[in-house]
Symmetry: C2
Subunit: 247 residues, 2 copies
């Protein structure tokens, strides 16, 4: 429980409250009582309030007109929209990266990540650990893309969307680590990564944009597969995904 005894109450409360929502301990639509959280987390109302306001801005809870907050319920359409939005933003990032003059280091960083991903995907059998590595490298690739875009405004906006848990492709990959489609999807994704790198190296901004958007359709496909195969999204889409993610 006391994961971070050093952190301030506010930060700890924010993190724990987010966990609570993401884990489904607080169901979507459920009203979040300040006092209830106070009891649960053992802090006073003040940090809880701040955390709730932040989560509201983050989009995980909505505030009621009468006062107080409820856990926000996400529909499958919301998830799909977030994926699309993420793709669009990443397209902008890729385009900017391609049209910018990149330093030698920046380029080699990106090449390294793609190279590592290549090596990983080329393996015949992928263990669960390989999947973990893939996710880490994949996150690294997308983080690097955002960094290379060199736009704090864009970065901020992207972080907002990523804060919606389901928009992270990592979750889907995790969920589907044992699905037969998974390997194929990884291979395709890696082809995308290579293509995006190529576009950036050649300064083809428009192509980089297009490729990044196309890449996001993979996450959309993952979503569809999840819905069909596992019926995990019946009632609590975001939450169940995340629950699986940490299982």
């Amino acid at each position: 429980m006391d994961d971070q005894p050093r952190a301030s109450q506010t930060v700890r409360t924010l993190l724990q409250l987010r966990e609570l929502i993401l884990n489904g301990d607080l169901s979507p639509g459920e009203r979040v009582s300040e006092l209830g959280i106070v009891e649960r987390l053992g802090v006073s109302r003040t940090p809880v309030r701040v955390a709730l306001v932040r989560l509201e801005e983050e989009g995980l809870v909505d505030c009621l007109p009468t006062g107080g907050f409820v856990v926000r319920a996400f529909s499958e359409a919301d998830i799909a929209d977030a994926i699309q939005l993420r793709g669009v933003l990443e397209g902008m990032a890729a385009q900017r990266a391609a049209e910018r003059r990149l330093s030698r280091d920046e380029l080699s960083d990106l090449r390294d990540v793609v190279g590592s991903l290549d090596a990983l995907v080329r393996q015949r059998d992928l263990t669960i650990d390989d999947f973990s590595d893939y996710i880490r490298l994949n996150d690294r690739f997308h983080g690097l893309l955002l960094h290379l875009a060199d736009s704090p405004v864009l970065k901020r906006s992207m972080e907002r969307v990523l804060s919606l848990p389901f928009a992270s492709p990592g979750a889907f990959v995790r969920v589907q680590a044992e699905l037969p489609e998974s390997r194929e999807i990884l291979v395709i994704a890696q082809e995308h990564h290579r293509a995006i790198l190529d576009a950036i190296e050649n300064g083809e901004g428009s192509r980089a944009d297009h490729l990044a958007r196309e890449h996001s359709r993979l996450a959309r496909r993952n979503l569809d597969i999840s819905v069909k195969n596992q019926r995990q999204l019946d009632r609590v889409p975001g939450a169940s995904l995340i629950r699986l993610r940490r299982a």
Copy 2:
């Protein structure tokens, strides 16, 4: 001062604090003292804190590692990025609107707005009131686009960017109501609006996307003109724009 005696303290504080920042009463980089605001607005620390947290999420202030907040300083590059980002998001909205099945009412609403804008722009001499009307209709057009996209996620994201004051083309138009370039820009903008409407009517999503992005380059041009003509952006870009906006 007591603009909204009915509203809650928190909302009033948020609005007033935002005004203070946007008007430049609090300079970028300046530390925002809670007690200072308490004195200035005559409320207790609690609503001030909440307002500051919200403004931090909104991007108008940054929180210091040591605690407390400072007014965020925006560079010209930030403004340009926000304009680009806004264009990208609006492109997504336009694309979605084009690829969606729109109701008769929705379409006629959009047509009405474009029609009104047409009538306005066709006039030979534009008074300052005409400019105000233009801005209102222009906002309406862009708001409608966002509505037609039918994506709460996208809407939320867009609102975040729009909250950066400078990203609103209205401010620029206002600033430049008497500049010789203004009329020309309005005419071009209106051509864009018509083209976007046309693309949506014909279900050409990709074209709508492209047009909307192109449209945002107008705002970028406005920014450049502002910088060159008036040197308003020397030190306090966002703030000075807004200051002019209400002059």
